[in-house]
Subunit: 383 residues, 2 copies
């Protein structure tokens, strides 16, 4: 709707020839000729318009569908036009607008990841693995940190929903008890794969490390090396890994007919401070343990540091085994025996399953995957 530049009215306007490629108009009321201010020149520096398929189409005098087809190896396309389009696309520096594509396809080619934190090497490594697999399949990754807060986790879920991710990878906070924010994904047909900190209430794919087996092997190893009064520093009771590693610990004792002593099991919230507190609690026992299986390496290291400070000889007087094989365990003295988990594999595996689920849609059947652990024997556990 063209308005007269003087009277601002729209009636009484007629086209009147073309001047320097621009349409000229005539207002019968005001009796003046005018052309519209060329907005493109203003735009030029303001925000360089990215070339679209329409630009290519115009340049080549074809329709945008033709351009779209040429760009997508559609079969019904003349090889010549195709070549011309491709050339022009390169020439104009065309970058497809994935937002538009996602909108019309109802598919964003993006997956979301929710992790509780990002500080230790653990989650970054998993994310890296997932990101690699995703990138290879042409998927982007949006990462959210729940910071171990249920509320944030709900917000994260909404962000991912609003961004219309095609699938989600989740490791829950330790305080998550309600799962509606996860179920919302399912409700919209968005597949979810849990890893590590999984949700039992939901019937989705899950990728876990075989914590039970890892713990069993670790404690068995201690027993075989002559330790008899073996303690366990576990994780937060809410976590499944805590449960499974504790179970492995118990079963190993049982297997070798060693008594289970309640006072030898303490739970740690995984903070450094609490780790030290737990270590103290154990070492202060009237009958202190001669070995400790720790829920993870950082905890094991705090224990070792404390023991060393107290001149307790490791491994002679105190055997220590950790879990997760973090870099620090390798350089500490004595080097820490630990249960290695295939961390990057967790991410790769989870992402792989998720992509499959996205591809299969309805047909997809949830799958539970349990990754193997390996006991890495170093010095801290060999009497």
């Amino acid at each position: 709707m063209i308005k007269c530049i003087r009277c601002k009215h729209v009636h009484a306007i007629t086209k009147s020839g073309i001047v320097r490629g621009k349409q000229r108009y005539f207002c019968k009321d005001c009796n003046i000729y005018f052309t519209l201010p060329d907005e493109t020149t203003v735009d030029m520096k303001h925000k360089k318009h990215m070339t679209t398929i329409v630009d290519i189409a115009k340049a080549l005098n074809v329709s945008k569908s033709t351009v779209s087809r040429a760009l997508h190896e559609h079969e019904d396309i003349n090889p010549h036009t195709r070549a011309a389009v491709l050339k022009m696309a390169r020439q104009l520096d065309y970058q497809p607008n994935l937002l538009a594509k996602s909108l019309v396809r109802s598919k964003s080619n993006t997956i979301g990841i929710i992790v509780p934190e990002f500080l230790t090497y653990f989650f970054p490594t998993i994310i890296m693995g997932a990101q690699q697999v995703a990138a290879e399949a042409g998927y982007n990754v949006i990462i959210c940190q729940s910071q171990e807060s249920y509320k944030t986790e709900v917000a994260n879920a909404n962000v991912l929903l609003a961004n219309r991710v095609d699938g989600v990878l989740i490791s829950m906070t330790r305080e998550t008890k309600k799962f509606d924010h996860f179920k919302a994904f399912e409700k919209h047909g968005i597949p979810v794969v849990f890893f590590n900190r999984v949700c039992d209430e939901m019937d989705t794919s899950k990728v876990l490390v075989n914590d039970y087996e890892g713990a069993l092997k670790a404690v068995e190893h201690l027993i075989k090396n002559g330790y008899r009064n073996i303690a366990h520093i576990g994780g937060p009771p809410a976590l499944l890994i805590t449960h499974n590693r504790l179970r492995g610990y118990k079963d190993a004792l049982a297997k070798y007919k060693l008594p289970f002593k309640k006072e030898l099991v303490v739970h740690c919230n995984l903070s450094k401070k609490d780790a030290i507190a737990c270590a103290e609690q154990l070492l202060n026992l009237k009958q202190p343990p001669d070995a400790v299986f720790c829920v993870n390496d950082p905890v094991a290291i705090q224990l070792m540091l404390l023991a060393k400070k107290r001149k307790i000889k490791i491994p002679a007087e105190l055997g220590i085994v950790g879990f997760s094989n973090e870099p620090s365990g390798e350089v500490i003295e004595p080097a820490l025996t630990t249960v290695q988990q295939p961390v990057a594999d967790i991410g790769r595996s989870a992402a792989g399953i998720l992509l499959e689920a996205i591809a299969k849609g309805e047909a997809y059947v949830p799958e539970k995957k349990s990754l193997k652990t390996t006991l890495i024997v170093r010095e801290s556990s060999i009497k």
Copy 2:
């Protein structure tokens, strides 16, 4: 337009009653009755339609513009309609489609990050910092790993471009010599902030750690502690940090009138293998150093491990200072003196500057930020 399920033609079709709530058709040509496969029932579970503003509008018998306005605290809106819309939105579990919003606003509220790798704690920590700041401002983050490959980096840049990110954070690969893929961002008015591995050729914001000063302090500390024959294991020559830390090393020597000896400087590509090779090279010297300033902690740790293996006393016979304060340095014995960089701050700072640039648009003036380092003195450098 109903087609016969046999002859596929559209003429000769008539309606013929309703069966179980579904319209039945009759093809006069083929003489058969049929109903159309019920797509809605399939759809129901297939992909639950997410509610849109139109759904809300219909439910309330208002126009979608009204809904949009209600959802955005627009001023021209009746408080009652507003309340009704909000209520209905909640009721229908409305999640705005950010893809659509981004498309029409030409603003994705997403920033991209390109980092060379993701393995050490360094980049993940930076990303975490950046992600926090971004999330607080309502921005998502898309992360790309260039894997130290120029080609991948170019691909990464295109991915971000195609996703229409509003800004980009970059730490270059060590082999990047051409910068067209970065300049493409500028060309489209997408602000770029470099961090850590910055690009001198581009006039954009940069966030760096004051490597020079950190190195200077580190070497000065060694000198003050009585070391006189101080070596340096540097990083890959292509990196700026290598250059700056080396400069700090040299200037510290100069400041105390100590001679610079070429054979005491070796360059390491930062791989573990090469770190060991460099350490060996130095320790094998006819006149081995009595202290080494290392380009980073992992290298320092490899050196320490080798020295210990050779029964060289640390710090008595060999002082060692690292750079970056990685967790391992704290637990190794003797504990590693190191230069701490405010890693998460790099990410926070860079993201902050980027968001500001996005907000200011044209008006934005590039800014160079140099973050301070702190020398953390532990045992490995005190004779």
